[in-house]
């Protein structure tokens, strides 16, 4: 299986060493900034920033583009829908059965650019941050909300357990698939009804075993005295360095610049 989004790529760049809390905050700021109507210069600025980040984290541009591939269909679909419904701006092309206006093109372009940017910044975060660090950071960032009843530790634990089980479930899926293939299931060929049956033969055992694993894990945790309500210390402490403050300052400057472009100029 090949996930590009969400896969950590081990390396030791400046970007990998940044405090995950600052990276997550930066991601949040940038995701908001992407929706500022800052026009083409704004997006150009964002793209430049993203390219610099890519270079700094030594990620191959090809890899990031691959993450966008699944969205190609959506982009085309959006473009088609916009062509039919947006009738503002200048008439660019009249094909008789459909008229294409400039607004349809530019609004599609905006959506494509926004989605592309969102996926790119998210990919940079996930490929340079270990999943475990990410959950630690989420726990820390949510800690202030504990007073209003947000169970930050529980959320972080849920996320880290979910991440930890992904490779197991992939293995399990392969195993069950092979077992059912041995019993004559043919997923590639066969009629629709047979394919549906094949999927059931895969999904049901997978769900059963996932529940079984969850129960085993819960028991193992309880047996070792785990309680989410007790205060827990931890071995790995996150420490911010001057690099992290520099990084977040740069991000904030970019966001302010975008806000100025969008709302003042």
């Amino acid at each position: 299986m090949n996930f590009t989004i969400g896969r950590y790529i081990p390396n030791d760049t400046w970007f990998h060493q940044l405090d995950p809390r600052f990276k997550i905050m930066a991601l949040l700021f940038l995701l908001i900034a992407i929706f500022f109507p800052a026009g083409y210069p704004g997006y150009a600025l964002m793209f430049v920033a993203v390219f610099i980040a890519l270079k700094l984290s030594q990620l191959s541009f090809k890899n990031v583009l691959r993450a966008l591939k699944p969205l190609l269909f959506m982009f085309i679909f959006l473009a088609v829908v916009n062509m039919f419904y947006l009738k503002d701006g200048i008439l660019l092309l009249d094909l008789g059965f459909i008229q294409i206006y400039s607004e349809a093109l530019s609004s599609t372009f905006y959506i494509v650019v926004r989605l592309t940017l969102m996926i790119m910044v998210t990919t940079i975060l996930t490929s340079t941050t270990k999943p475990l660090d990410m959950t630690l950071a989420i726990e820390d960032l949510l800690a202030p909300f504990q007073r209003i009843g947000v169970p930050s530790h529980v959320i972080a634990m849920l996320i880290s357990i979910a991440l930890r089980f992904i490779p197991d479930l992939v293995d399990e899926t392969n195993r069950i698939m092979k077992a059912q293939e041995s019993r004559g299931v043919d997923i590639a060929n066969g009629k629709f009804k047979e394919k549906l049956m094949a999927i059931l033969a895969l999904i049901i055992p997978l769900i059963i075993s996932a529940f079984q694993r969850a129960e085993d894990l819960a028991n193992a945790m309880e047996a070792r005295g785990y309680s989410p309500n007790k205060h827990r210390t931890r071995y790995r402490q996150l420490k911010a360095t001057s690099c992290d403050y520099l990084f977040i300052t740069i991000i904030i400057v970019i966001v302010i610049a975008l806000a100025l472009m969008a709302f003042v100029l």
């Binding site: 399990e172 077992a179 293939e181 041995s182 019993r183 004559g184 299931v185 043919d186 055992p205 075993s209």
Partner: protein, 285 residues
């Protein structure tokens, strides 16, 4: 049904940069109509080897011949007919159950191979009895059964395909001794049903190998280090050592007795019953 491996290697590609050789240059002819044990330490390539038998895996290089099929790295065909002839039971097969009744689950394989209702019905009844459960189980939900019963139902599901070659990966792992013995007896019975029934067993249990198998195949770090009959395997300390196998208690005792002056024919005596007889003969003498 002839089975042959010719210079078979299998390399897993973990990602473009990392590969792992699970099998390297295996040349192997398996005898027909026998109980065959495949042994070796964890990670020696046993599971990879048996998955080539029904084309779940194709060799990276070399070729596997099973019945009339020749499997190479680029073989493209419908594997269904082959899979009907070679039934494979994975480790802990109880996890593959998914139908709402035991009868439906056992019928799943035969149905996939397109058999008619009557034939399926006969096979379901035969298979449930073969694994030592009775017809009252057929209408129960497989998920309500005990672990051992689930495993039997899962094996019945493969038996119902009536494969010529039955391959089992660690079928007795985690069972109590009595259930394990009953299960081994079931495989021996299946093999004996017809002269072209072959049973291939992946196992760590040397007592199972000694008591039930005619032929032994030993893998070590992806290479074949022994293929031959069971007595000669247990008579070669060197091979056993290479395979990291501790000889079964009965063999240890026999060898100790010989060392202390007993006359025992090592080619004839390797089971507990035979050893007991040999000792009695020596003592009376």
């Amino acid at each position: 049904m002839p089975i042959a491996f010719r210079d078979v290697s299998h390399v897993y590609t973990l990602d473009p940069k990392h590969t792992r050789t699970a099998l390297s240059h295996i040349d192997l002819n398996l005898p027909q109509g026998k109980m065959i044990a495949v042994i070796g330490t964890t990670g020696s390539g046993k599971s990879t080897l048996v998955q080539h038998l029904n084309a779940l895996l194709l060799p990276t290089s070399g070729e596997v011949e099973v019945d009339e099929y020749t499997l190479k790295h680029d073989t493209k065909m419908r594997f269904k007919p082959l899979r009907q002839k070679v039934g494979l039971v994975f480790q802990f097969p109880e996890y593959q159950l998914f139908e709402e009744t035991v009868a439906k689950d056992i019928a799943f394989g035969p149905k996939n191979f397109g058999l008619d209702e009557q034939e399926i019905d006969r096979r379901v009844h035969d298979a449930i009895r073969a694994v030592g459960l009775d017809d009252s189980f057929l209408q129960r939900n497989p998920l309500d059964l005990s672990g051992g019963q689930k495993r039997r139902v899962a094996i019945a599901g493969v038996l119902a395909m009536e494969p010529k070659v039955l391959v089992l990966d660690e079928p007795t792992a985690g069972l109590d001794p009595a259930s394990a013995a009953a299960m081994m007896a079931l495989f021996v019975r299946y093999q004996a049903q017809s002269s072209d029934h072959t049973v291939i067993l992946v196992t760590h249990d040397m007592d199972n190998v000694l008591n039930y198998c005619d032929h032994v195949v030993v893998l070590h770090e992806g290479s074949l280090i022994y293929t031959g009959d069971t007595p000669s395997f247990f008579n070669s300390n060197e091979t056993m050592e290479q395979a990291a196998v501790l000889p079964p208690a009965c063999i240890v005792m026999r060898n100790a007795l010989i060392q202390h002056g007993f006359t025992i024919d090592v080619d004839q005596v390797y089971t507990e019953a035979a050893l007991a007889k040999a000792i009695a003969k020596e003592v009376k003498r």
